[in-house]
Symmetry: C2
Subunit: 401 residues, 2 copies
Amino acid sequence: MTLKKAISGTNLEQAKSHNRRVVIEAIRTNGALSRAAIARLTALSSQTISNIVEELEEAGLLRPEATLKGARGQPAVPYSINPDGGYSIGLQLDHQLAVGVVSDLSGTMRARIERNVDRPTPAEAMPLLAAICDDLIANCRLDRKKLLGIGMAMPGPFGVEGMTSVGPTALPGWQGFPVADELERLTGIAVTVENDATAAAIGERLYGVARNLGSFVYLFIGTGLGAGLFLDGHLYKGSRHNAGEIGHIIVRPGGLACGCGKRGCLERYVSLRAAYDKLDLPDPDHASPALLEELLADGDSRFEAWLAEAVEPLRQAIDILEMALDPETVVLGGFMPLPVIEALAGRLEPLHLSVSSTSARTTPRVLVGAAGKDTSVLGAAALPIFSETNPQFDVLQKPVA
Amino acid sequence: MTLKKAISGTNLEQAKSHNRRVVIEAIRTNGALSRAAIARLTALSSQTISNIVEELEEAGLLRPEATLKGARGQPAVPYSINPDGGYSIGLQLDHQLAVGVVSDLSGTMRARIERNVDRPTPAEAMPLLAAICDDLIANCRLDRKKLLGIGMAMPGPFGVEGMTSVGPTALPGWQGFPVADELERLTGIAVTVENDATAAAIGERLYGVARNLGSFVYLFIGTGLGAGLFLDGHLYKGSRHNAGEIGHIIVRPGGLACGCGKRGCLERYVSLRAAYDKLDLPDPDHASPALLEELLADGDSRFEAWLAEAVEPLRQAIDILEMALDPETVVLGGFMPLPVIEALAGRLEPLHLSVSSTSARTTPRVLVGAAGKDTSVLGAAALPIFSETNPQFDVLQKPVA
DNA sequence: TCAGAAACTCAAGTTGATTTAATTATACGG
DNA sequence: CCGTATAATTAAATCAACTTGAGTTTCTGA
């Protein structure tokens, strides 16, 4: 009889690692903090915090700021994240664009490269992505020792027969392709891959409007549509890494046929592709989001018709997410141009009655993402950093041999 | 400026508490285990496990079984949960029934009391529930010292204006009523309250088909409909304690009007109340689930018609849950009689294409709950136990003063 | 019968947080 | 301008819980 793996125990070493992360997270969400303030926030003793901060400063992750005078007592020395403490590369691959950025520890973009692609297969994309990485490293003269890793965002779902590589919103030929392994082989740098919605959720959580939230949903409107789920302070990825793939939930039974074989899928109504299709473009595979922004500005009647039709399915999706997950808020973003997202958001009220409809709330039910079009590539860049700094309770568990 | 509360640090004390829970959880999911086996499973040293087990045996939570001979080496002494290590009371309140049970540490029901109610208000229900507790304690001659607490399950959502006390599937007058506080005042025992779906999910996770799962969704079909979410080894309750309230998600835009004001809500199609309504009963407020079981056995044509109509919305709900949460499986259960649930489950195939449609899966996409009609009241009884034994990483965090 | 194996125990060792008591640097009140 | 209250920080000693390594026990199998 084989025993089911159990949740493993913990020890001082794991606890230490947890506390290091907690300190970084406290500074990240609050900005520069004195050691005494960190001690109060984390319920750890000031001595412990002093030891941890000393270590982290030594490691180059934290740096002291100017002392804060003006109050009684010995002036506090605030510490903040040291931007130069490390760098990471973020990659994003989509139907028409491959983007690569270098991000420092504070999330500032230090370099950005863009390359056009055309619904690339792995064979086409992998050398291009590796070349982008090389260029970024060369351009920034990056010290490889300070390069924490590569994070990559691309459309999901992963590994679902009949869905991953099928339909106009999917990239062809990626079914079963070991993206991370291959890119790691080509670049010699550790690679983490996430779907674009999850990457965007991380970006928004680290640098955007979700900075202080414990539970939120990021609705990524791109070529298709997906959600990134941040629940109870943790990214939730699902048992097969495909949580949040709500582009293919049925919101209109018997509605528009979808590439996945179902009818009335959400992304047939709310996505770039849905808008292109509604506009009856001659070549929807090569349309650009910028076009939608122009049409919106022009008050184009067909585009207005799409907007009007997209609002109710979007409202319905928000309703479903609110009822199912009771998040603090739903954040809208993605490749869809910001003015279009704002136009959609502006038409959402009145939202449906849901468990979010309480008068006692402080955050609006729906927020528009703050970090703009590069949210997910910055979020992707944050993947290697995130894994180093977000308190992951998994880490408290000892690795089982 | 007020600082956002940060995730707090941890220390030896918290780590110890975590490890105690991990040991109990390992035995609970695997059955009796020797100390050496626990050490291997948890990655803790055998000495540590010996210390912990000694403590837990002292406390009466664990008991040694007969030594296991037959292998080389010193024979192992397996330890199992001591059923008499503690007791808890489970309560469940619904439209027509109040149930109370006594459960021992192993989840065995030691006593059960049932009382009829009629859509009770708090003023009616609270004395009754307190009386049930008194009777249970008297009947079982329970040692109050070994009574871990009271867990109560009732329909959600909680605290949503226009939803908590509105409509035929809601209980009237409970909006804003402090159930736990009041019951605690009446009985003098600590009380935990959860919605029925969440309680059922706990029951199924501790004693039923979800015993070894890390992520699953329990779909509770009762007077209304709700989901209990167990994600990544933790119960997910939502930011306002209302996650899983999917009875009111819209699955048929413009469909049947619902008490909440929306149209086409899931529970208008899949719930006891939906079946009663479809059958055009003269007094649907006082119909009983047993009636549905009879009609199913008789092959009643109107009931068959309801079944046929309920299947697609249910399939759609499963699709939504799978796509949004990517659980290992979806478990069906609730007040709906088991044969009816099995009839529904039998008609679900073919399920929609989702991220769960992978050939590599070991668990079926949909399971019928194992623990029967008392799943949620047993789950409720487990609430005080669960909070003592399930490794909750929250516990690793020091309480902030 | 005895070597090997596995479970378990004992006693010291290690680690990292806590406690307690200084020490330092500032504001404020007189 | 000075003394005191206040708050941050540091230093040294202490403590709690896990780990290590060397036994000890009790079995199987040759």
